[in-house]
């Protein structure tokens, strides 16, 4: 699965809300290894 969107919005009272959206990852091997 890959993160496709991270949307940050502000609520009426000033607090933030973040929407994380994911979708199926077709080629998992293509994802960058974070330790490399």
């Amino acid at each position: 699965m890959i993160l496709v969107e991270k949307e940050r919005e502000q609520k009426d009272d000033g607090r933030y809300i973040i929407f994380y959206t994911f979708e199926d990852e077709e080629d998992e091997g293509s994802r960058e290894d974070s330790t490399s």
């Binding site: 609520k11 994380y20 490399s36």
Partner: protein, 330 residues
């Protein structure tokens, strides 16, 4: 009002947040503030009809980014400080009755991504010294909203328990030619085998030799990664896999969705060096000692800090391991 007061007898901060008395308490499912806002329905915390994973600032925070200087000045002996930090709520799913154990491995994997992102973002704030990711699950733990969610407290200090653990690991490293305490503990658990509960390629779940709760389990990264953000893609995937197996086992243990506290211990974000000292791991503390009996933190545990446990880790690990194997997650 968010205020910190220093306890000089224990050398630790206590946070006061009096507005939390007004927080929502066990609303009926149709008025759950963590569900999506439905057309024509009452406005919840999430102004959308559906969502994947959502993070928002807690409406009743124990710590606030703009906490003012406290009205109460304290004294040199007992100083006060602004309760400055961030408290977030992490919604695992838009399904009200879902649980982490019942979620797909892929969704748990996505959650790992969100946890790592929050660790990095909150940890980059100059007033945050420790990003504490946790979940309280079940009424037995005092949860006021049943919708599947966890929390994150970004503290302006390293809280006592992780601090004590880091000090122990630092001392061990000094006395043992730079060795990691957690790596050595994990090696001993692998060698002994009796307390292992679930083993993945990169993570291992076990009941520690010194468990404080009968069915306490720790999930350790095999590699000495200081934080969740340091995990590689395959390690994150394996963490989701091992968590799923452990959680399914927990739910099979007594035949109901087991309450627990889940906490993550990892490197502080206070700018100090923690390589070889902080070792990312997750600890689970279920309060049940049997299906219908809870372990209470009573006089000895709360007043003396000395835990009395009425079951040996080798026995509870065997029962939990059988539950994990019987639950049948891949």
């Amino acid at each position: 009002m968010n205020q910190l007061r220093w306890d000089p007898t224990l050398g630790e901060w206590v946070a006061y947040a009096t507005h939390r008395q007004d927080r929502t308490f066990h609303p009926p499912a149709e008025y759950c503030p963590l569900c999506p806002t439905k057309p024509g329905g009452f406005p919840t915390e999430v102004p959308r009809e559906s969502y994947d994973i959502v993070v928002f600032e807690n409406k009743f925070p124990s710590l606030k980014p703009d906490a003012p200087d406290p009205d109460e000045p304290g004294s040199a002996l007992t100083p006060t400080a602004p309760g400055r930090g961030v408290c977030e709520v992490v919604l695992y799913s838009d399904e009200h009755d879902a649980t982490l154990a019942g979620m797909s491995e892929e969704r748990i994997r996505n959650l790992v991504e969100v946890w790592a992102d929050r660790y990095e973002e909150l940890g980059s704030l100059d007033y945050v010294s420790y990003v504490f990711i946790f979940e309280n699950k079940g009424e037995a733990i005092g949860v006021t909203l049943s919708h599947p969610h966890g929390q994150i407290y970004a503290y302006p200090f390293v809280p006592p328990r992780p601090r004590k653990e880091l000090e122990a690991a630092g001392g061990y490293r000094e006395e043992n030619e730079g060795r990691c305490l957690h790596c050595d503990l994990l090696s001993e658990e692998h060698e002994d085998g009796r307390r292992l509960v679930a083993k993945g390629e990169h993570f291992t779940a076990f009941v520690p030799f010194y468990a404080h709760f009968p069915y306490e389990a720790h999930v350790y990264a095999r590699r000495c990664a200081p934080s969740i953000a340091d995990l590689a893609a395959e390690e994150r995937r394996d963490l989701a896999r091992v968590l799923k197996r452990l959680l399914m086992g927990y739910d099979r243990l007594f035949g109901f969705s087991l309450p627990y506290m889940m906490v993550m211990h990892q490197a502080p974000t206070n700018g100090e060096e923690h390589e070889g000292i902080a070792h990312f791991h997750i600890e689970f503390y279920p309060p049940n000692r049997t299906a219908d009996k809870l372990k209470y933190l009573a006089g000895s545990e709360t007043g003396a800090g000395a835990y009395i446990v009425d079951a040996l880790p080798e026995e509870t690990a065997m029962t939990l391991r059988e539950a994990v194997e019987g639950a049948g997650a891949s």
